[in-house]
């Protein structure tokens, strides 16, 4: 009789414990972030988009490159692609009749690449004219020395 009592008590304790214990599962759980879409925008200096430009996307994994997508941009110079699962680094080459631009980026934790910082256009124009004046002066100096 006492044996039965002990068994019952144990069984009751088991039920009680399972009710109290937090739910757990015997499966190991995985999660992976995935960026579902990357937008590539291509445009010419001055802001005009490059439509129908050839676009080659290379997936970089373990610093090995593999051609992933070959396509063309849409009317607005845009292209959307879905990254490969587990591959975060990409190299994108956009080209159209001799014009070409290459970008390498990482889709994880990237807020989108910013435009390259450069001097304002007016400053670059002035710089160009400065070089020209300098060159002209140099040329004149040389020819003046020759005539002496």
């Amino acid at each position: 009789m006492t044996n039965y009592k002990i068994i019952w008590a144990l069984a009751f304790a088991c039920v009680l414990l399972t009710a109290i214990a937090p739910a757990a599962s015997a499966h190991r759980v995985y999660a992976q972030e995935q960026v579902t879409e990357v937008q590539i925008r291509s445009w010419y200096g001055g802001g005009d988009p490059i439509p129908n430009a050839d676009i080659n996307i290379y997936a970089i994994k373990n610093s090995e490159e593999e051609l992933y997508i070959t396509d063309v941009t849409d009317e607005e110079g845009l292209y959307y692609f879905e990254p490969k699962l587990g591959v975060v680094e990409y190299r994108v080459v956009v080209s159209q009749s001799g014009h070409q631009k290459e970008i390498t980026f990482n889709v994880a934790g990237s807020e989108g690449s910013s435009e390259e910082a450069e001097l304002p256009l007016s400053a670059r124009i002035v710089a160009g004219f400065g070089y020209l004046v300098g060159l002209a002066g140099f040329g004149m100096y040389l020819s003046a020395r020759k005539t002496k």
Binding site: D48, V93, Q100, G128, L135
Partner: protein
């Protein structure tokens, strides 16, 4: 018109530089025979300056964006010295505007400089046979742009592009530019002939 870095194979880039250096020496030598380069420096500088900023003027018609080149104008006004002027202009554009690549400067100078030399020849020939210089200017201005588009297509064959396809696309995209450059070159020639005819390379040889 400006080919970027990384498009062309090293062989084409090397060939481009070699031809450009040879043509630079040849045009400077030729220019020296015809004119006093020292006297021409201010004119060359002004034209190079115009060429340098011209590529910033965009015309966006239809799906593509094209810009002024002005190589026809340089050819007509500077003669053989247009080649060194275009070289300097393209170096400045590549360094300051990132128009075209640094390595591809050699090829780009060929693409824009050779048409300039060709239209100079046409202008000289046409002028001596007595064709109206204004009309000649229009023809030369637009023809240089068209020739550049064709040369671009020839160069891009080496990258595996279809010649007719690129030539057609480049020529079609540049039709507005051809019209603008034709009018511009025609009016500059007309103006110079009226005001300072000695500024055109034509009168020097008379």
């Amino acid at each position: 018109m400006h080919i970027s870095d990384g498009v062309l194979s090293p062989a084409v880039i090397t060939a481009g530089w070699a031809i450009t250096v040879l043509l630079l020496l040849a045009t400077l030598w030729w220019g020296k025979k015809d004119v006093d380069i020292a006297e021409e420096i201010p004119k060359i500088s002004v034209m190079t300056g115009a060429f340098f900023v011209a590529s910033l003027i965009h015309v966006s018609i239809g799906p593509t964006s094209v810009h002024l080149v002005l190589n026809g104008l340089l050819g007509v006004v500077l003669g053989t010295l247009a080649y060194p002027a275009i070289f300097i202009g393209l170096v400045l554009q590549a360094l300051l505007f990132q128009h075209g690549g640094i390595t591809s400067i050699g090829i780009n100078v060929i693409n824009m400089g050779i048409p300039a030399l060709i239209v100079y020849g046409i202008f000289k020939k046409g002028y001596s046979t007595g064709i109206n210089p204004s009309i000649l200017g229009i023809i030369c201005g637009s023809m240089a742009t068209m020739l550049s588009a064709i040369m671009l297509a020839i160069v891009l064959i080496s990258t595996g592009e279809e010649f007719t396809e690129v030539a057609y696309a480049a020529a079609a995209a540049n039709i507005p530019i051809m019209i603008i450059e034709g009018i511009l070159t025609g009016s500059v020639v007309t103006f110079l002939l009226k005001v300072r005819p000695e500024l055109l390379p034509i009168n020097k040889e008379k």
